[in-house]
Each structure stands twice: as structure tokens, then as C-alpha cells.
């Protein structure tokens, strides 16, 4: 999607019709709109938001230019409009939104004129309710511009409304976005841009459909079936209640963890216990490493256990193998008889002893019977011989599995000891910090420990709830099977079971798709944020790693590997925000323009130069609304090469004029 141009007619301080053409193309894709404070940059930004989404103008007073209303009578209705031309997937569109306002006087007080009438000195504009016809979207159909039937839907598919703040970005908020207390904003942005709420709604609706099926089927059933349906219904309600609790517990977990991190960061700042905190970091690392190693060995152990029945059977295998060898040595398993020799004999009509064995003779019949016996005998002999070979291999395998299990178990026990020892050292360290003479330190440590315990308890609660949920799901399946058995011949009941199972399967698939999609996209966003952050951040920065956690929390690590988002300066936070915004644009398809209102205010000059060099490469179209101070010197020179269109906003006598410099 690319913006082509915008016209504002009597919109706010833009009196008359004012127009901006946007730069597009692969190289000169930047449009710069320069203007001092109050010149109309934010109004222009609001105009785009308002035109496309009918939002962003709630708190900004009158929309219609007061200059346009000046000569009008009180009670007159005036109009303002914003038109945006854009191109998407080869088609051109024009979005037009108008607003109507009535000119009303403002009472100035008790002053009266000579005739005793009230005297009005000023006026304001009263906005009239919006009508459906106030927004029109025309689209290019076979060379003709025709009205698009569901304009909001099209706009939403091109630039998703719930993620618009990341394409149409207000620079004043840029530094707030990545402040630690704005985690939820980041999380919601990612969820919205990936349309995860839509998938979640689909999952929820499918759950409702399944429950409705149960209700309906219960009505039309009788006896045992009815009881079973009732049990299913109860279990389904139990699952809904568990899900609600799980959601609450997960939220509690996130907030407890956040709070714990906050306390940990506060402790980290205290000089008096710096060495103890460093020691704790080290022990925690050791603890996690030991856990990882233990899990790795346990996984090895589990793999060896899958064929561990061979170990149990080793005694029998060896006994059988010895018995076969003994038989072979004693000649009890004789070598194979050559069937071909007997077959040749049968067609030769004469035995080696000279007797007649022509077809039909007694001798021929006996030899034929002998041949059949030989075939069976040969098969058994072959099987015994193969078995003897196979048992040798199995015995070796059993010994290998036993060795692997021994080794894995030894390592698991060793790591368990390490885990216990490290946990004990951590506990001792906690007591040392808790007993610190400075009351603040002691209190902070107590809070940290309490939050840590709370976190463990919440995790345990979540695990219990998940177990309960799995139990309910298993019980439902058992009851369904029972119903299926009882009502095998009843069409309606069978249909219910089939449809229900199909719905459950769909839900299962949806869950898998959701998890996979969310996880892949999270990794994709993380990679992109990291890539952009590396490009934009000051080269000697100590911040080396950016991570997006499983619950979409953005974290930055310093070169010690410690979380360091708290330590970012305002400028660095802006860089992180920009990395995030650029990633959002990329992940959503990489085909959206980026409109930024005063984005560079607090940036350090090196960051600013990096950004103006890199951002135009990362987005298809960049529209910057900047103050003179924001873009100057080297940054301006770097950007100049990418600027395709440039405008100045001239503010005079309460009105803004758009001019080409």
C-alpha cells in the first residue's frame, strides 16, 4: 500500500484546499513535512487517522476551519473534508471523509449592547453526528472509479485498524512505548498485528458450538445416554471454569514476574550488595545449567528406556541363544536340504538307486511328500538359524541400553545433587541479603523472595489446573465412547458424536495452528527487531541482544548477558521503539507506509543519523513530519538523497499554508 496524495479542505487550521503529494518509489520514497511547533503537523497526522479510521479527533476541538466559519451566520452548517488517494495491489483508491459542524456563539457573560440584547464576541463549532454517507471510498474497477461497498473492511485489510498506531506513529509516544511499564502495549500490538484475537475468537466460538451440541443432544436422548450427556455438560462447564481460572492465573503470573523483576532491578542498583547480587546471578546461571544438563540426560534416559524390555529379557535371550547353539553343535539343527535336488529327481523318472519313480508311481508320491516335508523343515531350520543370529544382535543391544541407562542415571543423579547444592547456596545467599543491616535492602530482599515463592505457587496452580483440564477432557472422551456404544444404531446420536468429534478435532487443529503460528511469528519479529536494533543503535553500545519472550515481552541484554531494559536511556528507548515499529510493519506484510510525527526529538545525533539512513530502506514509504531542530546537519544530508517530496508548513494569522520549499 502506498499513499499518493492528501487534500485537506477547511480542516482545522488548513483553510481552503491544501494538498500534499507523497513520494513513492524504490529509492526516493521519503516525504518530509517541515513545520515548527503549532504549525499543523499534528493536525495533518490527525487528518490521516481521521480520514481512514474516523478516530484521533475526539479531543482536538473543532474540525472545521474557524477562518472558513468567520463570515458565516450563527446556526450555519459548514463542512470540512480530508481526501486520501492511495494505491494497493495495483488498484487506486480515494477515501473521502467529511464532517459537518454548526457555528454557535459563545456567551461572554453579562455584557449587553445598547438595545439591551446579549452581546456575543466569539463563536465555536458544534459537531453534528456523523452519518454513513460521510465516508466514501472509491476504487478503480476496470478503469472506472466506483464506490467500494464495505469501505471500512477494505481499509482494515490494507492497514489493520487495531495496529494503526504502529504505521501512523505519534513521536511523542515513541519513548514511552518501550518503557518497562508499557509491556502490555507491546504484547497487545503484536497480538493485534498477527490477528491473534481473531484466531482466539474462532477457538472460543468452536468451544461454544461443541457445548451447544451437548445441550441439544441431551434433549433428544433418554436413559443412560441422557445421564452421560449430563456428565459431559458438567465437565464442559468445568473446563470453561478452569479456562477462566487459567487465564487469571496466567495474568497473575505475568504481573508477579514483572514485579519480581522490578524488585530485582532495584536490588541490582544497590552498591552495598553488588557483590552478593553478582554471586546470585552466577548461582542462578549454574542452577539453570544444571537443570538443562539434567533434562538432557533424562531425555537420553527416556530414549534408552523405550527398548528397556530387552534388558529384562536378556537372561531369556541368552538362554535361548545357548540352547540353539548347543542344538546346532549336536547336529540337532541339520543343514538345509537342497530342494532343487529332489525336484530334479521328480522329473527324471528314475531314482539314484535305479528304482522307477515315474509320475503316478508309489515312489514318486513318497518323494513328493518328502519334498513338502523338506520345505517345512527348511523353513523352520532357516527361522532357527536367523533367530540365532538375531538373538546375538539383541543381546548386544540389551547390553548397550543397560550401559546407556547406567550412565544417564549416574549423570541425572549427579546433576540432581548439583541442583540441590546450588539451591541451598541460593537460600543461604538470600538469608545473607535478608539479614543485611540496611533495612531497605532487607525489605527488598524479603519482597523478592515472597514474589519468587508466589511465582512458584502460581506455576504449581497452573499445572494443577492444566491437569484438571486434561482429566476433564479424557473423561469427556470416555463418556463419548460410551454413548457411541449405547447408541450405535441411533442415527441422531451417532451424528451428534461424529459432528462433536469433528468440532473437537477442528479445535485441536486450530490450537496447534495457533501455537505454531504465534511461535513462528514471535521468532520472526524477534529476529527483525534485533536486526533493526543492531542497525540503528550506536555501534559501541553495551546492549548486545534483544529478545522477545514467549509472552511477547521485549527485553534488552547488556554485554554481561544481564537484562538491561531499565538501563536504556530515553534515546536508546526510542531506537528500540523504532526497531519494534519497523518490525511490526515488516511482519504485517512489509507493504505498509510509515507515517511518523516528530519522531527524532530526543535522539542522540549518532542514533538519528543511523535512523535516517536505515529506516527508508526498511519501509516502502516513509512520511516524516519534523521540526527544524529535529532534522539538521549530517542527518539531513544523509536523508536528502532519499527525499522525493518536501513541504513546509507556514502558519500565519491562525491558518496553515502548505508550500514547496
Amino acid at each position: 500500500m502506498e499513499f499518493l496524495r492528501i487534500t485537506l479542505k477547511d480542516f482545522r487550521q488548513y483553510f481552503g484546499t491544501q494538498e500534499i503529494k507523497f513520494a513513492k518509489g524504490s529509492h526516493k520514497n521519503v516525504t518530509v513535512v517541515n513545520g515548527p511547533n503549532g504549525a499543523g503537523k499534528t493536525s495533518l497526522f490527525s487528518a490521516i487517522n481521521w480520514c481512514l479510521y474516523n478516530e484521533g479527533v475526539e479531543q482536538i476541538g473543532a474540525l472545521v476551519s474557524k477562518e472558513a466559519a468567520l463570515e458565516k451566520e450563527y446556526g450555519d452548517i459548514l463542512e470540512c473534508s480530508v481526501k486520501i488517494w492511495f494505491e494497493h495491489e495495483g488498484s487506486k483508491y480515494v477515501a473521502t471523509r467529511i464532517a459537518k459542524e454548526r457555528k454557535v456563539p459563545i456567551e461572554t457573560g453579562s455584557e449587553e449592547d445598547e438595545d439591551g440584547e446579549e452581546k456575543y464576541k466569539s463563536f465555536t463549532m458544534e459537531r453534528l453526528p456523523a452519518e454513513e454517507a460521510d465516508f466514501v471510498l472509491l476504487g478503480d474497477v476496470d478503469g472506472n472509479m466506483k464506490e467500494v461497498p464495505d469501505p471500512n473492511r477494505l481499509i482494515n485489510s490494507v492497514l489493520p485498524k487495531n495496529a494503526r498506531q504502529y504505521f501512523l506513529f505519534d513521536g511523542e509516544k515513541i519513548e514511552q512505548l518501550t518503557r518497562p511499564d508499557h509491556d502490555n502495549e507491546i504484547k497487545e500490538a503484536i497480538r493485534n498485528i498477527l490477528q491473534l484475537p481473531s484466531i482466539e475468537n474462532a477457538r472460543e466460538h468452536l468451544g461454544i458450538v461443541i457445548r451447544e451440541f451437548t445441550k441439544e443432544s441431551k434433549k433428544s436422548s433418554s436413559g443412560n445416554e441422557s445421564e452421560l450427556y449430563e456428565k459431559i455438560e458438567k465437565l464442559e462447564n468445568e473446563i470453561v471454569a478452569i479456562d477462566t481460572k487459567l487465564e487469571a492465573k496466567n495474568k497473575e503470573l505475568v504481573s508477579t514476574r514483572d514485579l519480581k523483576q522490578k524488585v530485582e532491578e532495584d536490588l541490582r542498583k544497590l552498591e552495598a550488595i553488588k557483590h552478593l547480587i553478582a554471586r546470585r546471578d552466577e548461582l542462578e546461571r549454574e542452577y539453570e545449567e544444571a537443570k538443562d544438563k539434567r533434562n538432557k540426560w533424562k531425555s537420553n534416559l527416556r530414549n534408552s528406556l523405550s527398548s528397556s524390555y530387552l534388558i529384562v529379557a536378556e537372561g531369556i535371550i541368552n538362554k535361548c541363544s545357548e540352547s540353539l547353539k548347543e542344538k546346532k553343535e549336536k547336529g540337532l539343527i541339520p543343514p538345509l536340504v537342497q530342494n532343487s535336488f529332489i525336484e530334479k529327481l521328480l522329473v527324471s523318472d528314475s531314482c539314484i538307486c535305479g528304482n522307477d519313480i515315474c509320475a503316478g508311481s508309489e515312489g514318486h508320491k513318497n518323494i513328493k511328500m518328502f519334498l513338502e516335508k523338506c520345505k517345512e523343515y527348511n523353513k523352520a531350520a532357516q527361522d532357527l538359524s536367523d533367530l540365532n543370529d538375531d538373538l546375538g544382535i539383541i543381546s548386544n543391544k540389551a547390553q548397550n541400553f543397560a550401559e546407556n541407562i547406567k550412565m544417564a542415571m549416574r549423570e541425572v543423579s549427579c546433576e540432581n545433587q548439583n541442583i540441590e547444592l546450588t539451591a541451598k547456596r541460593l537460600e543461604d545467599l538470600h538469608k545473607e541479603i535478608e539479614g543485611h543491616k540496611e533495612e531497605d535492602i532487607s525489605q527488598l530482599e524479603k519482597s523478592r523472595k515472597k514474589l519468587e515463592d508466589d511465582e512458584d505457587n502460581i506455576r504449581a496452580d497452573i499445572a494443577t489446573l492444566n491437569n484438571d483440564k486434561a482429566r476433564c477432557q479424557n473423561e469427556i472422551k470416555d463418556h463419548e465412547n460410551e454413548i457411541e456404544k449405547i447408541s450405535k444404531k441411533k442415527d441422531a446420536a451417532r451424528k451428534f458424536i461424529e459432528t462433536r468429534k469433528l468440532s473437537e478435532k477442528a479445535l485441536e487443529v486450530l490450537n496447534v495452528v495457533y501455537e505454531k503460528f504465534a511461535s513462528e511469528k514471535r521468532i520472526e519479529i524477534e529476529k527483525f527487531i534485533k536486526k533493526v536494533f543492531d542497525l540503528l543503535i550506536w555501534k559501541d553500545s553495551i546492549f548486545t541482544k534483544v529478545r522477545l519472550s514467549d509472552d511477547y515481552k521485549l527485553e534488552v541484554f547488556d554485554h554481561y548477558g544481564s537484562p538491561a531494559r531499565e538501563e536504556l536511556s530515553a534515546g536508546e528507548r526510542q531506537v528500540l521503539s523504532l526497531s519494534f515499529i519497523a518490525s511490526m510493519a515488516q511482519v504485517s506484510g512489509g507493504d505498509v507506509p510509515l507515517v511518523m510525527d516528530t519522531p527524532f526529538g530526543r535522539l542522540f545525533s549518532i542514533h538519528r543519523e543511523n535512523i535516517v539512513e536505515q529506516i527508508p530502506k526498511l519501509t516502502k514509504q516513509l512520511i516524516l513530519m519534523v521540526q527544524d531542530e529535529e532534522l539538521k546537519g549530517k542527518a539531513k544530508t544523509i536523508l536528502q538523497d532519499r527525499v522525493g517530496e518536501e513541504y513546509n508548513l507556514i502558519f500565519e494569522n491562525g491558518c496553515t499554508r502548505i508550500e514547496v520549499p
Binding site: Y309, K319, K406
Partner: protein, 140 residues
């Protein structure tokens, strides 16, 4: 494609064990659960049942548990043959795959409860089974 064999294509367990099989397999992706397939449980039960040295208990109500094609031809099938051979004592019985499988089913039926007790005696089934093996079958 699986090759055609003279082994029966389905293997059954007693219906009363089915729920417990499912329970042992319900979290086959959980590191605390030792078994990944029903075949592993079947084979382990079979060996334990054989070692009990008493008359195998025949499968009462049959419930299909695995397809023959999942038996490894170089490990599982020779093991079944060996147990059957040891039990019957006659060499030519080795070609009767159908009877060998019936014998294996009866042994598994006989040994399943013991296996279930072994793995569920602790919180972590992997550790429970390992401890049993270390105590009884693996030389230290």
C-alpha cells in the same frame, strides 16, 4: 509400504487394561513418561509376564492395541519367537507365527499389572522404571 508377512496383522490386549495403557501413553511428550508407543508397553508386559513363570492368562475381552507392522522384525519378532520357543520346547513351533502372537498376548496380559505397578510407584515414571531396572536387571 510394509512387506507382507505370515504374522497376524493385529495384536490385542485385554480390554480391562486399555484405560491404563492410555494413561501411560497420555503424556507421551512429557519427559516423566517412559513410553512413547503402545508397542513398548506391550513388549515390556510380555517379558514380565513370561518371567512370572506361571500359566499365561489368556486375553478375555480383546481390544486391538497395535498393528503387527509396528513390531521390529530384527528385535521384537525374534524376541517373541524366542519366548514362544522356550515355552514350547519344539523347534518346528517357530514357524507358527499365529500361535506365537497368541502366546505373546497372553504373556503381556499376565505381566501388565506388574509393569503398571513398577512405573506408577513414584511421581516420575522414568525414574521409577529406571530404579526398577537398576535394582533388578542392570549390574552395578
Amino acid at each position: 509400504m510394509y512387506e507382507q508377512t505370515d504374522w497376524p496383522d493385529r495384536i490385542y490386549i485385554d480390554e480391562r487394561h486399555h484405560a491404563k495403557y492410555s494413561e501411560l501413553l497420555s503424556k507421551s511428550d512429557d519427559a516423566r513418561y517412559p513410553f512413547k508407543t503402545a508397542k513398548e508397553i506391550f513388549m515390556f508386559s510380555m517379558v514380565l509376564g513370561f518371567l512370572k513363570k506361571k500359566e499365561p492368562s489368556p486375553v478375555d475381552k480383546k481390544k486391538e492395541v497395535i498393528m503387527e507392522k509396528y513390531l521390529d522384525s530384527k528385535v521384537d519378532k525374534p524376541l517373541i519367537k524366542a519366548l514362544y520357543l522356550m515355552n514350547e520346547g519344539k523347534d518346528d513351533c517357530i514357524i507358527d507365527k499365529k500361535s506365537a502372537i497368541l502366546f505373546a498376548q497372553d504373556c503381556a496380559n499376565n505381566g501388565f499389572d506388574e509393569l503398571y505397578d513398577i512405573v506408577t510407584r513414584g511421581h516420575d515414571m522414568v525414574i521409577s522404571l529406571t530404579e526398577y531396572l537398576m535394582e533388578n536387571h542392570i549390574e552395578q
